[in-house]
Symmetry: C2
Subunit: 295 residues, 2 copies
């Protein structure tokens, strides 16, 4: 019998992921603070729940995809939350990106309540969510992971158990460090090339073919040339994630000089009022630093 | 009739490139300061020249692939150099990575002497040189480029004219900025993941599948996990290149905060005696910063 899934948090990433679960044949009940998103899921063949209790009641798998650590904590432990209403033995998959230490702590609370927790943050952005080809980095027990591999297969392409509870979030923190850095370096390269009057379209093509090639260059290069920064993944969320990775690095006694620098650049972009842009909009602060944005 | 090519500089990159030109049917005469390398080319079907004069005499295309700006200048303008001995109308392709302003100046001298100059630095490393799949970023005139496209096809895969003389070097400078930065960010991520005891092999697999994916991760990740830093492309050369890009950025009034940070990290690695390592050996200084290299 197909699994029943409760999907809590139907945003830019959550809604297409939930739709892919519907298309894979799961019975998906969606809950979102803004009910219109749950209605969109119902139109796609799922169903809309009015409360978390209604969504999780009897569900085999409970999924959360919400913005930040306090949101996950509230949805899990609140009076009307998951722990208060979930069936014992259900698997809880948290696709959100949150602090590794919070993930570990919440996993322990979930286990105590009889749930099987997996922290499973994703990478690949909205296009990856729509196409069902996300990278999913998972922390938790092997047996719990194996039991829901069909759920992961419906939303992702590269799906890897990387360690115990919290390890998924640790790897995601490293991911966000690298992505922000790669975006910043690409932005510096583009501003540099423009300053020298190089044919930037041709330049990005050849850069992408060599050792400088990256997913960030492929997905964000043209957006920088076009100054087109519609989200996508918003800078204010990446700013939150840079707080996670810089705090976790400090906690572990690890120096991340490039990570710290790009964290400051991301913070500056948000402070300048551009937190609602796609994270490729980090370009705006690199350009402004050089006074090239008035051209 | 097939072109006659003089190939000056048969190092880690130059020798396999020259061999690929031989295999493509060109008549290739190699010159190297250390003659053994020219003998290796002769064994592969080319011929060994004892002097630059002997190599370039009557050649249709003259190629240079030497370490730095002064080397190119000496080979071009020296008493026994290219300008003193080349046939008028020959094309001079400089595959070396040098300063864009020097490239522009030398191109003008070459034009005055009746040569057709193309600055054509490459990316892709020793594996790309061996497999003939380098990225080649080219500055010069369209007609001069078109006339030797068969030469480029024999050594590269992504071959792009990016602007007038010097533009190839400008794009290569941006390439080196991005590559050094991507290496540094990967190193920070690996040290961070190891500090948390994550299964790093699995972590790099999933990171490579998401937006953090890059050629640097694909080619250098395992080297960092293995602490295996045999060159490859030596840090001391990347240090030279970071000097080029930081100077060129300053000249153009462009701030490159991430580029400047990674330039310092590369410089520190060289100062610590590790300039002979592959550039992935930038990992050693990131690890040392956190005191994690005594484990």
């Amino acid at each position: 019998m197909s699994k029943t899934i409760a999907f809590i948090g139907l945003g830019i990433m959550g809604l297409p992921m939930a739709k892919n679960l519907v298309n894979a044949g799961f019975d998906v009940r969606g809950f979102n603070r803004t009910p219109a998103k749950a209605d969109a899921l119902a139109e796609a063949g799922g169903s809309a729940a009015a409360t978390i209790a209604e969504a999780v009641d009897g569900a085999d798998v409970i999924i959360t995809m919400v913005p930040d650590s306090p949101d996950v904590e509230a949805v899990l432990t609140g009076d009307d939350g998951i722990l208060a209403h979930a069936s014992a033995g259900a698997t809880w998959i948290d696709f959100s990106t949150i602090r590794p230490d919070v993930a570990k702590d919440l996993a322990e609370q979930a286990k105590t309540a009889g749930l099987k927790p997996l922290d499973a943050p994703v990478s690949g952005g909205e296009p990856g969510a729509i196409d069902g080809v996300l990278s999913v980095m998972i922390g938790g027990d092997q047996a719990d992971f194996d039991a829901v591999s069909d759920v992961f297969d419906a939303v992702g392409k590269t799906i890897v158990l990387v360690g115990p509870s919290g390890a998924g979030q640790t790897v995601k923190a490293a991911n966000q460090l690298m992505v922000a850095g790669n975006i910043g370096l690409l932005a510096e390269a583009v501003v540099f090339l423009e300053a020298y009057g190089v044919e930037t379209g041709a330049a990005l093509q050849v850069l992408g073919g060599g050792l400088a090639g990256s997913k960030v260059l492929d997905q964000k290069g043209q957006k920088m040339l076009d100054r087109s920064f519609d989200p996508g993944f918003r800078l204010e969320l990446h700013h939150k994630d840079m707080g996670i990775v810089t705090a976790a690095a400090r906690e572990a006694g690890v120096a991340i000089p490039l990570g710290a620098t790009v964290a400051q650049l991301v913070a500056a972009t948000v402070q300048q009022g551009n937190g609602g842009l796609d994270h490729s909009g980090l370009f705006t602060v690199i350009e402004a630093l050089s006074g090239k944005n008035e051209n």
